[in-house]
């Protein structure tokens, strides 16, 4: 088993007819993801790579069983798009869109919680389970391989790098999840750690953190008190100057908070083995297994 998804997960794509949505639909289909429908208001009746398109999630739901949605709509439509999926009773939403307003992300987070829906993101590369041949999002499938390591990352491309390094070292992933790197993400690091701790297939969890916010510090507390499986980590951004936003909206060391050192120290205190450089994660995972 993986966390959040498995080989039977049925997925819809919201924003399927857009440039990114259609291209990523093809890549997900090629990887093996079971995409049952797409939604783009006004484009109902079309087909994208054989996938039927509907005007609304509600209409798609009347025709198909749906477990999860992946969102590729422009930032200004994200809030409404997520609300539509939540109102239609979809329990897992992967929100890929970058530059979602923070206030909208806060509302989505609150609404999802009230409706017992898990939203990953915004700005997530998605979720992948190599053994289940399923990926929801934009992660390139050829960077990942099946195994027993749970991978949680705040970054997109750095997730690919570390997964590829792990595969080269003979270590596969049970599931890899990108949390997203905005100031507010809808699913926190601790939530994902809990899921991996309960997952049979996962033997060790690797966290790829980065500067900004306090997610790693909060997670460290949880690991110390509650986590039963070994955790290893790398935190990007040791050389980041304070006060500069490093590409991700949430990646900024400001007002004395969010530095890589603070995160590494908190994690080490929780007995997490912390890598100085990304490639060292491989050795740390090997030792933990």
């Amino acid at each position: 088993m993986a966390i959040l998804i498995d080989e039977n997960t049925k997925v819809i794509v919201q924003g399927i007819t857009g440039r990114v949505g259609s291209r990523q639909t093809r890549l997900m289909l090629e990887y093996g993801t079971k995409i049952v429908a797409g939604v783009t208001p006004g484009k109902g009746g079309e087909k994208i790579y054989g996938v039927p398109v509907y005007d609304s999630v509600k209409e798609a739901k009347e025709e198909h069983h749906i477990d999860a949605s992946v969102v590729f709509v422009p930032a200004r439509f994200v809030k409404d798009t997520c609300f539509e999926a939540i109102d239609a009773g979809i329990k897992l939403i992967v929100l890929v869109t970058e530059h979602t307003p923070v206030y909208d992300a806060m509302q989505i987070k609150a609404y999802a919680k009230a409706n017992e829906t898990i939203v990953i993101g915004p700005t997530t590369p998605g979720i992948i389970s190599p053994a289940g041949k399923i990926k929801i999002g934009i992660l390139p499938g050829n960077m990942f391989c099946p195994g027993n390591t749970g991978l949680i990352s705040r970054s997109g491309t750095l997730t690919y790098e570390i997964a590829a390094n792990l595969c080269d070292g003979g270590i596969g992933q049970s599931t890899a999840v990108g949390m997203g790197a905005d100031p507010v993400v809808c699913t926190n690091l601790v939530d994902l750690l809990k899921l991996f701790d309960e997952d049979d297939q996962t033997k060790v969890v690797a966290i790829v953190g980065e500067v900004g916010g306090t997610e790693e510090e909060i997670a460290a507390q949880f690991i110390k008190e509650r986590m039963s499986k070994p955790v290893v980590a790398y935190v990007a951004g040791k050389s980041v100057p304070p006060g500069k936003r490093m590409g991700h909206a949430g990646a900024i060391v400001e007002r004395g908070r969010g530095s890589a050192e603070s995160k590494m120290e908190a994690l080490r205190e929780a007995k997490v083995k912390v890598a100085e450089m990304p490639e060292e994660i491989v050795q740390l995972v090997k030792e933990a297994l």
Binding site: I138, L139, P140, N142, T157, V184, S239, E279
Partner: protein, 380 residues
């Protein structure tokens, strides 16, 4: 996007939050005129997009017009922490009895707005948090309901206020909560909120940072956003469509992905220094990558360029064409080392190699960085 104090105060006025009488000016003559109009003594405040100006001579008092001219003239000429002073705010000096702190920001992990108040105004709230945590009170706000006015009053009451002052401060806090929501603020702060001997309450300072991702909802701010970026190269990069951070080294860097960019910086720092951080975002095109390389090459001291890109959402083969185009058209001679993996990687490698780029095909960025160090050494 950070607003100037005077701009934030204009919004405060619109929302009914009282601010001291004053006006922003751009010359010492104007400064004297305004001072005459509102009456001496006055406070002169440098309008600069960075915090902590009080400690670096950015806030001064003037008792007469000669002082007003001198001080404002000097202030308009200097940089504060490397940021240009863009005007000075001339304000009537108020009789301070008490200074408070009011702020609304984001509690990231909870994903909720949080209102913070303190009886210690005029010092940084982080300092109060360290020294007198018992003097700080906060409340997480329901993101759909917003801050209620009774909640604002309850918080104000914790600051030991009574009667008329309690109502005034409570009301200001309530309005601040509305402004926070309406303007998609990441932070809005009044520090200090001054209670005068006459019993009046004024926002003596104003900090307002608006979420860049929300600017489509605030077209009047969006129009100014790019020109607001203080660094010229950072501004230029924004026009290209990439995120650039100017650093002090001599290795140009182009990465797709912020996390990967930061990790790559960490690795390069083992033996060399990055000249910049550059993140392409998820909208890579040929033009975007050509533009990115051109911005990186603007610095005269660049010894080599390191490219680290992944084909997830990005068509890296298109990006590679842009790189090669810029190399050819601009006759770039310095070594370029690239690692490119993901969708259509083989095609990408061919394009880059044909363009004279040294391509490293392993999955570890560390290996590619080793190659960069080797190339640098050969050139010494």
């Amino acid at each position: 996007m950070r607003l100037h104090e005077y701009e934030a105060k204009e919004l405060f006025k619109k929302y009914g939050i009282p601010v001291p009488e004053g006006k922003v000016v751009f010359s010492s003559e104007e400064a004297a005129e305004v001072a005459k109009e509102i009456g001496l003594p006055v406070v002169i405040k440098a309008q600069v997009l960075v915090g902590g100006r009080g400690k670096t001579g950015g806030v001064k008092f003037a008792r007469n017009l000669k002082e007003v001219e001198e001080i404002s003239g000097e202030m308009l000429e200097v940089d504060i922490k490397g940021y240009k002073v863009e005007g000075v705010l001339i304000e009537k000096r108020v009789n301070i009895q008490k200074e408070l702190y009011l702020g609304v920001t984001i509690e990231g992990s909870a994903g909720k707005p949080v209102v913070i108040v303190s009886s210690e105004g005029g010092v940084e709230i982080e300092e109060t948090a360290r020294n007198y945590p018992q003097r700080i009170f906060s409340l997480q706000v329901d993101v759909f309901k917003g801050l209620r006015s009774y909640e604002a009053r309850l918080l104000a009451k914790k600051l030991g206020l009574k009667g008329e002052k309690l109502l005034k401060v409570g009301n200001i806090l309530y309005k601040l909560g509305n402004l926070y929501r309406d303007y998609d603020a990441l932070i809005v702060e009044i520090n200090p909120l001054v209670v005068t001997r006459e019993g009046e309450v004024f926002a003596a300072d104003a900090v307002l940072q608006v979420d860049d991702s929300s600017l489509f909802r605030h077209p009047e701010l969006q129009a100014k956003a790019i020109e607001r970026i203080p660094d010229e190269l950072e501004r230029e990069a924004k026009k290209v469509g990439v995120t650039y951070v100017n650093l002090d080294g001599d290795i140009g860097l182009i990465c797709s992905g912020a996390g990967l960019g930061m990790a790559t910086m960490d690795m390069i720092r083992r033996k060399a220094k990055p000249a910049n951080f550059l993140e392409t975002g998820g909208g890579m095109t040929k033009e975007l990558m050509a533009g990115a390389l051109r911005v990186v090459m603007k610095k005269k001291n660049i010894r080599a360029v390191f490219i680290n890109i992944y084909g997830g959402i990005n068509p890296i083969h298109e990006g590679a064409k842009g790189i090669v185009e810029a190399i050819k058209e601009d006759k770039i001679k310095i070594p370029i080392v690239a690692k490119a993996l993901g969708n259509r990687q083989e095609e990408t490698w061919d394009i880059l190699e044909e363009g004279g780029v040294k391509v490293v095909k392993e999955s570890q960025t560390a290996k590619a960085v080793e190659e960069l160090f080797k190339v640098l050494k050969e050139r010494e």
